[in-house]
Subunit: 205 residues, 2 copies
């Protein structure tokens, strides 16, 4: 499946009428229709109608609804590499975890509708996308934050592991599955009550 | 909704023909049919046929398929209070986390079929059941293990918090969602690489 990455929302809008605005309206319609009506009922027609454009406009860019859905998710999920870091451990941890929480909040309803539509290739598509676009980059970013913390004396060198890097993300997902929405206070509690005690240098070490 | 707790699988088998054996066959049929065919297609008839019994037998005990499904889940989910503890921190953590992993492995396919069948009351039923039967008791059990560890000098007193008690469970669920099945080695890695460093007393503290 080819995706038109050159036309991603981060490139300048083309000169065509409504370029970026129309694109965003199409993506918003996809996510909204997935959440409301589910994967099976989403069609190129229904998206075109909701975005006040023609079906031909959609087909000029996307071969089928799966390509369109993938691009809509890529649009809704912020790229973790674009997250601004400050070089302060607790601040940077909070920034990344809040960004991860926002990405899940923005897309989990729509993603769940795809996963539940069938157990086969579509569910795998969502799984791969979330892994490639969200969880793997977040793990790398958090590992980098821990590594930088070692240089500043904020992190034990032996705490820089993929497992430790996943603790914050895991706590957030678990909380959202068992308790409900993840607040900023919850993220701060995880940082102060779990992550910092886990990675901080030991007094006599 | 009333459930016949007095007839749960942990009570002695009644004198009726096939008592416990028939009950287990019925519960197994429910979980298997949920996994294979989904919530909508499971009927009292289909379960009766698979368990080689009559529909009347089912209706004598369960008013409808939801009552039957709930009992089948309660049967498949081991009660955390029955988990044997040894009084050794890493051993007890491993025992509880393996039990939690087994409970999810045994029921997640069937539970997912219910959740995806509709977003309303049935999904809430599964959510409540997993919370009451699995995640909340596990948190209490893990808190108790940490508290016991404080008395033996294996755990810092300020590490005995609900958040810390959830770290192991959260890591397992996150791993199973993003990577796949949780092995015993994975559980040991979480204990050695995350939980023990997080809760152990600090050298100079």
């Amino acid at each position: 499946m080819t995706r038109t990455r050159a036309e991603s929302p981060h490139t300048p809008a083309p000169a065509r009428r409504h370029g970026r605005v129309l694109e965003q309206a199409i993506f918003d319609a996809v996510i909204e229709q997935l959440e409301k009506f589910g994967y099976a009922k989403l069609t190129m027609d229904s998206v075109a109608a909701a975005a006040h454009t023609g079906k031909a406009t959609l087909y000029r860019r996307w071969a089928d609804k799966d390509e369109l859905i993938l691009d809509a998710f890529y649009n809704a999920l912020p790229s973790p590499v674009a997250i601004p870091l400050r070089g302060v451990l607790r601040t940077d941890l909070a920034t990344v975890l809040r960004s991860l929480r926002d990405a899940f909040d923005a897309t989990r309803g729509a993603a769940f509708q795809i996963v539940k539509s069938e157990n086969g290739p579509k569910a795998a598509m969502v799984h791969t996308m979330v892994k490639e676009r969200v969880t793997d980059p977040c793990k790398k970013l958090l590992l980098g934050i821990l590594r930088d913390g070692v240089e500043r004396g904020e992190v034990r060198a032996d705490a820089v592991t993929p497992l430790v890097a996943n603790v914050g993300s895991a706590m957030m997902i678990y909380h959202s599955l068992t308790e409900g929405p993840v607040s900023d206070d919850m993220i701060n509690d995880v940082i102060e009550g779990v992550l910092l005690p886990l990675v901080s240098p030991r007094p006599s070490a």
